[in-house]
């Protein structure tokens, strides 16, 4: 960070002006293990960014830290130039599929309607307008036919698409997705990719934690390589090099031979407890 603002006011260089997401010096530790060290990240608006790295690299944690879901030890996050507290209306989140109780007595439509809760404010209930918005979001992910189904009676891919629809209904400028492609069928994967491109066409920014290195150049514009520290970040064409990948994955990866990062069993999560024991490869 060489751009320096000489004014004596609090650190000014990181205004995040013109950036969809600006992360500065972000450090997160679970107990004594650093999970993210001093991470900087700048994401210009209107593009699809993949966050890539080995298991335990802190990808999910990066998302959660940006969204204020885990406490940070240090650092600063700006969404479109504003701190999160003032930008909550502009961020959406698609969590990992394993993070909720699927036997909860609620329907797909109900879950999607939750995306409107913030707009509704306290006490007020979702009415017909919210229902219609939720239905049209379900339609966009091809799930309208399942609106009334209890959520445990959906397949994994369908569940993922319900989460996506919930983020769509929020209609935010920036959306964060935690491994939306994990354990989904080909049909859902295509649907998600279409959706990502559609969001980009409308000027939205999407940050996706991604596992399949091979599809990165096809699906994304920018990529961030992460392994506790940020290894590299920028347009795929410039940054997604074998050299950088080796730095990220610890030199044992010939990316061209490897199909995908050895993912944990489907449903395996990157939550605080597992990350705490997360292996950080040398």
């Amino acid at each position: 960070m060489t751009a320096h603002d000489p004014s004596p006011a609090p650190p000014a260089p990181h205004t995040g002006a013109g950036l969809a997401v600006a992360v500065h010096d972000l450090t997160v530790a679970y107990r004594d293990k650093p999970v993210l060290w001093d991470v900087d990240l700048e994401v210009p608006p209107g593009l699809l960014l993949a966050v890539v790295g080995p298991n335990g690299a802190g990808k999910s944690t990066l998302l959660k830290a940006i969204l204020g879901l885990v406490p940070t030890a240090a650092g600063q996050v700006l969404i479109h130039g504003e701190p999160l507290a003032r930008a909550r209306d502009r961020v959406g989140y698609v969590p990992q599929r394993g993070s909720v109780d699927w036997d909860f007595p609620t329907s797909a439509l109900d879950v999607v309607t939750m995306g409107t809760y913030r707009r509704l404010g306290w006490v007020r209930r979702p009415g017909r307008r919210e229902r219609e918005a939720a239905l049209s979001a379900l339609e966009r992910v091809g799930m309208a036919a399942f609106a009334d189904r209890q959520i445990s009676q959906l397949s994994g891919g369908q569940q993922q698409r319900v989460f996506l629809a919930r983020a769509l209904v929020q209609d935010t400028d920036v959306t964060f997705m935690d491994e939306p492609f994990q354990g989904v069928d080909a049909l859902t994967e295509r649907a998600i990719v279409e959706l990502l491109k559609d969001l980009r066409a409308r000027g939205r920014t999407v940050v996706v934690v991604h596992h399949d290195l091979q599809t990165v150049p096809d699906y994304f514009d920018w990529v961030t390589l992460l392994n506790v520290r940020r290894i590299a970040s920028g347009p795929v064409a410039e940054v997604f090099t074998e050299e950088n990948l080796r730095l990220t994955y610890g030199g044992r990866v010939g990316f061209l031979e490897r199909k995908a990062d050895p993912t944990p069993a489907p449903g395996g999560r990157d939550d605080p407890t597992t990350s705490h024991f997360g292996r950080i490869r040398p």
């Binding site: 960070m1 060489t2 320096h4 004596p8 609090p10 650190p11 260089p13 010096d25 450090t27 530790a29 107990r31 004594d32 650093p34 060290w37 001093d38 959660k64 969204l67 204020g68 879901l69 030890a73 240090a74 650092g75 600063q76 507290a85 909550r88 961020v91 989140y93 969590p95 993070s99 909720v100 109780d101 699927w102 909860f104 007595p105 609620t106 329907s107 109900d110 939750m114 809760y117 913030r118 509704l120 306290w122 006490v123 209930r125 209890q150 445990s152 009676q153 959906l154 397949s155 994994g156 891919g157 369908q158 919930r166 069928d185 080909a186 049909l187 859902t188 506790v228 520290r229 950080i280």
Partner: protein, 752 residues
């Protein structure tokens, strides 16, 4: 109930009041129980209600008042404290939630018992009636009490309804609720507070021991009937109210039935009925569904066989085939019955002499079935609308059931059906599926007795099918029966026998579990001795099966793979537990059993990681707290059970605070040290990145460092001083400069 009885009911003031009060309690607890259940906190209500007892006793001890409002306030205070203890223990230690619940429940309850017995020893008789809070005494309810309950419960439900959507989101997906900016922590506390209110409202009528049932039962019953939250809550309210009123009326009919237990019994009946009869989640519905699915599979297997036979002979509607042939092909079930049912559906027709043909409708059905299968196979899970999330397990089970037949069309109908389109070898219908062989055989081995059954069937099937030399061996599913050299399945299938042997070994190893049954023929020693012997025997057995126990508690899946039966070990453990429970039950009561079973192991687990040491420590601490509690009770002349439970609590608390590694004190000290280490590293990194640039004038000013690193001013100053002491940096000309040691630290931290 006749009209007279109804009239009598309405004219009976006491009964009316009691029933109304019980209904209010039931409805409130039902609604809040729904959220408790969905957040997996039902048992928290249990802890809360038991923890209310010491509060009641304390209020009386301190104020001498028996005014309901004061007692309820005391109950709410300690109930709340109990809930906080549970969440605190879970959050700050490795003690799992259920242990924490059991521990808090029994320790608080034990302390309450101690206080109650202490009060009862006092000379004046003013304490009379306090013990009604134990099991409740609904008959003493007055209209004013009911009004208090209605206000308390109604208020709780009103708040719940107002914040319905927030609480719903909180229960379903707390992370998302946080993202939307909801104050998750505060909502969480509020919801727990509402639950405490509901519990406390019911204490006088139902008592601390039974109140939690009112939280759990209506919600559990309601969940069976609906898949939506709002109907579930409404239904739980109705169930709760019905159980309350019904229990009250029932207890009025018989003079000796106390109200509290009657209410809980009524709620239990509702749960049982719901468990059995509910339309979709009920047991009967499940049995019916399984039966239908099995019948469909059976029918389609035979239908597909007929279809294949017809196709193979190349006739539009095939010549009739003998039922015996179909029987030879079938995987199981009565073929003749299936054929008759197929006939009933118009898919097959009898041609006399036990010969059968497939009809046009049957062919259409078979085609539709096959098409649906292959579509499902190619499009993955999503295309199958009828494949709900939970179903794969069922399907797997069904498939396994058919597997033993390995290669007979029953299995073919299950996913490998595309291959059924291949022309079959005229010599044998089980031929011609070479690709499918390997994986199927592989599963046939571990499948229940696959070999033996397939064997037998081969013997049976061979007779009606003379040409099948190849077919016969193949159908037998025995590795190496056909082309032993080339059979790709030989290797996998060959696993079978050793697996069986291993299993048998596992079983044999577990046989000594049998003498677990308490022996009644022992020459009558004193009870305590018998108890001690039984407990000792339990321990001895735990020693005998140490390895198995360890494995089963650690990883049930692995244990199963290795040939131990986790279910068997589990039940062994359960019976160990029950023997122990019986041995000590009559001596010290139920509460103490829970405390002694949960407390010492939980405390020991804070002190060590190794299983043998853990068992030893737990036994030691259990004995120590039992003896200590006994002396305490003697000394104070209070309830022995209560004193022992309280001692267990004290021992656990000591372990929680002072354990050398995991204790809260040690953890706090470690965290402070780590925070400093961490801050030093961050400071070093920060300085090393900025000290050479033009921005150093700002980034390295000691009075501005806290701004850059987002620290508190005081903390930044402390870190700087610590860094100076360790010679990581020096102050120079109003700026901070890194020393070589600091630079090394930064490098080390970055390359870690």
């Amino acid at each position: 109930m006749s009209w007279d009885a109804v009239a009598a009911f309405w004219s009976d003031y006491t009964l009316r009041t009691v029933a109304a009060g019980a209904a209010v309690i039931g409805a409130t607890a039902g609604v809040l129980g729904v959220f408790a259940q969905l957040r997996r906190q039902s048992l928290l209500g249990d802890a809360v209600s038991h923890a209310a007892l010491p509060g009641i006793a304390l209020v009386f001890l301190l104020t001498g008042s028996k005014a309901p409002a004061a007692l309820v306030a005391g109950a709410a205070a300690t109930g709340w404290l109990g809930a906080l203890c549970v969440t605190g223990i879970v959050r700050s230690s490795r003690v799992p939630a259920d242990s924490a619940l059991g521990l808090v429940l029994s320790v608080f309850f034990g302390a309450g018992l101690m206080l109650l017995t202490w009060i009862q020893r006092r000379p004046d008789a003013s304490q009379a009636g306090l013990d009604r809070f134990l099991f409740g005494q609904a008959a003493t309810l007055l209209a004013a009490d009911v009004a208090t309950m209605a206000v308390l419960g109604g208020g709780a439900v009103l708040v719940l309804v107002l914040l319905w959507k927030e609480f719903k989101l909180l229960s379903f997906d707390p992370a998302y609720a946080a993202l939307l900016g909801l104050p998750v922590r505060r909502l969480d506390i509020l919801l727990t507070g509402l639950m405490v209110a509901a519990v406390v409202a019911g204490l006088q009528a139902v008592g601390v021991v039974l109140m939690s049932a009112m939280l759990v039962a209506p919600a559990a019953a309601a969940r069976q009937w609906t898949d939506r939250l709002a109907p579930m809550a409404a239904l739980a309210a109705v169930f709760g109210a019905a159980a309350g009123a019904g229990g009250a009326v029932a207890s009025s009919l018989s003079a000796r039935t106390p109200t509290g237990p009657a209410i809980v019994l009524a709620a239990t009946v509702l749960v049982l009925v719901s468990l059995v009869l509910a339309p979709r989640r009920g047991l009967l519905a499940g049995v019916w569904r399984r039966w239908r699915r099995r019948r469909d599979l059976r029918l389609h297997a035979v239908l597909l066989d007929l279809h294949a036979l017809a196709g193979q002979h190349g006739e539009p509607t095939a010549a009739p085939h003998a039922a015996a042939v179909l029987r030879a092909m079938a995987a199981g079930g009565s073929v003749r019955r299936s054929l008759r049912e197929l006939e009933g559906r118009g898919w097959a027709a009898a041609a006399g002499g036990d010969q059968w043909t497939i009809t046009a409708a049957g062919r259409a059905e078979a085609g539709r079935f096959l098409a649906a299968r292959s579509a499902a196979g190619s499009a993955g899970r999503t295309r199958r609308d009828d494949a709900p999330g939970r179903d794969p397990a069922h399907r797997r089970r069904d498939r396994r059931r058919l597997r033993p037949g390995g290669h007979v069309p029953g299995a073919a109908a299950h996913g490998h059906d595309e291959r059924r389109h291949q022309p079959l070898d005229p010599a044998g219908h089980r031929r011609g599926l070479p690709g499918g062989r390997g994986p199927r055989l592989a599963v046939a081995g571990p499948g229940r007795g696959g070999h033996r059954r397939a064997d037998r069937r081969a013997g049976r099937g061979a007779a009606p099918h003379p040409p099948g030399q190849g077919g016969r061996g193949h159908r037998a599913g025995l590795p190496g029966a056909v082309q032993p050299g080339r059979d790709p399945a030989g290797a996998t299938g060959g696993l079978g026998p050793p697996r069986h042997r291993r299993r048998a070994a596992g079983r044999a190893g577990l046989r000594p579990l049998r003498p677990l049954r308490p022996r009644r023929d022992r020459p009558g020693p004193a009870r305590a001795v018998a108890g001690g012997r039984r407990a000792a025997a339990g321990r001895r057995r735990a020693g005998l099966f140490f390895k198995e126990l360890k494995l089963a508690t650690f990883d049930a899946g692995l244990a199963a793979t290795l040939g131990f039966s986790p279910a068997l070990i589990h039940y062994g453990l359960m019976s160990l537990v029950s023997v122990t429970a019986v041995a000590s039950f009559d001596a010290v009561g139920l509460v103490l059993v829970v405390a002694l079973m949960v407390g010492p192991p939980a405390a020991a687990h804070l002190l060590t990681d190794r299983l043998p040491r853990l068992l030893g420590l737990a036994a030691l601490m259990g004995a120590a707290s039992a003896i200590g509690g006994y002396w305490l009770a003697r000394w104070l002349d209070v309830s022995i059970a209560g004193a022992m439970a309280a001692t267990v609590g004290a021992v656990f608390l000591a372990a929680l605070l002072l354990a050398p590694q995991r204790g809260l004190v040690a953890a706090a000290r470690r965290r402070a040290a780590q925070r400093l280490e961490f801050a030093l590293a961050m400071l070093a990194i920060h300085l090393s990145q900025h000290e050479c640039g033009p921005e150093a004038a700002d980034e390295c000013r000691p009075d501005r460092i806290h701004l850059h690193l987002h620290w508190e001013t005081g903390f930044a100053e402390r870190v700087l001083r610590a860094a100076e002491q360790r010679r990581l940096l020096r102050r120079e000309g109003g700026l901070v400069r890194l020393e070589e040691a600091g630079r090394a630290l930064a490098r080390g931290a970055l390359t870690r």
